[in-house]
């Protein structure tokens, strides 16, 4: 479904993406793990069009993704969420989702459709909020939510685009245990319909959900294999899993 070949991206002397080749198969959950600063977010930014790579190719369902501007990628089915919560604080939670829905039906510029009068849109948005466990917060201002709840909005917005390939950048970071469990269950039920690239630090989540795991260290893919093989892999043990670097309780930003 997605094929990354020889992708490179540097910031000055830092090679944030160092000759990465990776493919994501349709219908799988592909986890991307690696220590902080490994280049996971940078990779997602290139896939979503927020950054341009220095070299390499990305094809999505067979066509060249790099020629497609960022705002067209969600319409092609490729959608990202943000590690650093990025919502619309002065809109209600429901309106955050409605905004996504109106965009996906090509009504983002519609002057003659009243925002609050589209009942089917509002019902659909409410439905999505119920699924991520925010149903009772629909009419709150998003800026007034707790950090964990804003993370849920972030995921709800991504889901509202009805993605084919979902790029999730540490979706559970900063959520409470209960919320995390709910989102994990949700991702598990979505696996039949949505392909996912999941960046996550919580190894329990990763090993429960992933069909395949790739390990990124200093911008390089050091391993890409099934969860069982990754667990056994000596290099990965040394580079990442066994070391003290792995600490899911640490708050990341």
């Amino acid at each position: 479904m997605l094929k990354i070949q020889n992708l490179c991206k540097s910031f000055g002397a830092i090679k944030a993406t160092d000759n990465v080749s990776l493919s994501i198969d349709q219908g799988t959950i592909h986890a991307l793990i690696g220590p902080n600063g490994a280049g996971k977010t940078t990779l997602i930014s290139q896939l979503s069009g927020y950054m341009q790579p220095n070299s390499g190719t990305i094809t999505f369902n067979g066509f060249d993704l790099l020629t497609l501007p960022a705002h067209k990628r969600p319409h092609a089915g490729l959608v990202r969420s943000f590690q650093i919560t990025s919502v619309f604080p002065e809109l209600t939670v429901l309106d955050n989702i409605c905004l996504v829905l109106q965009s996906m039906c090509g009504q983002a510029q519609s002057i003659f459709r009243m925002a609050k009068a589209d009942l089917s849109e509002r019902n659909e948005a409410q439905e999505i909020l119920n699924r991520v466990g925010l149903g009772d917060k629909a009419n709150s201002l998003t800026g007034n939510l707790s950090h964990g709840q804003k993370r849920q909005v972030e995921i709800a917005m991504a889901l509202a685009t009805k993605p084919k390939l979902l790029l999730l950048d540490e979706p559970m970071a900063g959520m409470g245990a209960e919320e995390s469990r709910q989102i994990m269950t949700l991702l598990n039920t979505l696996r039949t319909s949505v392909t996912m690239l999941l960046v996550e630090h919580d190894m329990d989540v990763v090993f429960k959900l992933a069909d395949k795991i790739s390990v990124l260290v200093y911008g390089r893919v050091v391993a890409s294999d099934t969860p069982e093989n990754i667990r056994k892999n000596q290099d990965v043990q040394e580079a990442y899993l066994g070391g003290n670097e792995l600490n899911p309780k640490v708050k990341r930003c």
Partner: protein, 332 residues
């Protein structure tokens, strides 16, 4: 609750504006009709600027450029009608049915060009580039020797003609402007509550997030920039008719600055605010020198801006969202 409060206030204001000419007639002060015509025209431009500043978060410092395009379109057409000469092979005209729509169309076109270029920048750069475009137009108009250069030109044949309406009549022209103001205001009310309005609010709050949900923010910004340009162009066309005189001053950067002050003073991100701001600003500008004079402060009367400035600062400091905030937030 808030909605009815608003609506009642608006209907009250509109009724007052409709009845105003009678009041002035009864009190033998009909010249004030002209003052209020000016307020209403300026308010159209102020509301249109607030679509950019308050609703979309685009601080445009060159909005007077579109006033200029609207005014000069009407002026140049009238000039050639009077001289019985042609402009690019086309005859001039005094007909309002041609001149006013053309003024609006050209403003839209100029807004499209200026917007397409300046919206590639953000923040302070956007402020500076819109300011530069405004000044470019100012100097363009100054260089038009045929149309009076920096002295400007008169509309010797009087105001535009319209079937069934005599715009040269003070009161009829007032109602003509009030009608356009009301229509534009209603249009904007719908616009900001539309789905597009929600997109604009999203741009203001977190513009970097838009492309990830499939919205082309550049295109959305360009669209609102053109709509705002149309509003200001309409105001420019009416303004030319009002004064029957067009000069580059209408495009000067201080005009753009006045418009921004009015929006901030009245309350950004509201439609009523810029109207209130316009009324306070222009009425103070007109009457503050007279008031000061009548109290015997002759020196201050000459330098009335020294009193004017602190009043503006006080309003902005003490009312969070300007005059709008004073009226609507305190009352609950």
């Amino acid at each position: 609750m808030k909605y009815t409060h608003h609506t009642r206030f608006l209907i009250g204001c509109l009724l007052a504006l409709i009845l105003l000419p009678w009041l002035f007639h009864a009190t033998d002060s009909s010249y004030l009709v002209s003052t209020f015509t000016r307020l209403i025209i300026f308010a159209i431009a102020a509301v249109s600027l607030d679509l950019l500043i308050g609703y979309t978060g685009l601080v445009s410092f060159g909005h007077a450029a579109f006033l200029g395009v609207g005014a000069y379109t009407v002026g140049i057409l009238s000039f050639h009608a009077y001289e019985e000469t042609t402009f690019l092979g086309l005859p001039g005209t005094l007909s309002g049915l041609t001149a006013i729509p053309l003024a609006v169309l050209l403003s839209a076109l100029v807004a499209l060009i200026i917007g397409a270029l300046s919206l590639r920048t953000k923040g302070v750069y956007f402020i500076m580039i819109t300011l530069s475009f405004g000044q470019m137009l100012f100097f363009l108009f100054v260089s038009l020797e045929q149309y009076g250069g920096d002295d400007g030109m008169m509309m010797f044949d009087g105001r535009n003609t319209l079937p069934g309406l005599d715009l040269n009549d003070r009161v009829e022209f007032y109602y003509f402007c009030l009608t356009w103001f009301t229509l534009f205001f209603l249009f904007c009310t719908r616009l900001v509550r539309s789905k597009f309005g929600r997109t604009l609010a999203a741009i203001r709050q977190n513009e970097d997030r838009l492309s990830s949900i499939g919205i082309n923010e550049y295109w959305a910004k360009l669209q609102i920039f053109v709509i705002a340009g149309i509003g200001a162009g309409l105001a420019g066309a009416l303004s030319a008719n009002h004064t029957e005189f067009i000069s580059p001053d209408i495009t000067h950067w201080t005009r753009s600055g006045d418009l921004m002050i009015v929006v901030i003073l009245g309350g950004m991100g509201t439609l009523i605010g810029p109207v209130l701001g316009t009324f306070l600003f222009l009425l103070l500008e007109e009457f503050l020198p007279l008031i000061l004079h009548s109290f015997g402060f002759d020196l201050l009367s000459e330098h009335w801006r020294f009193v004017f400035g602190p009043i503006l600062i006080l309003v902005v400091l003490y009312a969070k969202s300007g005059l709008y905030g004073m009226i609507f937030r305190k009352g609950g």
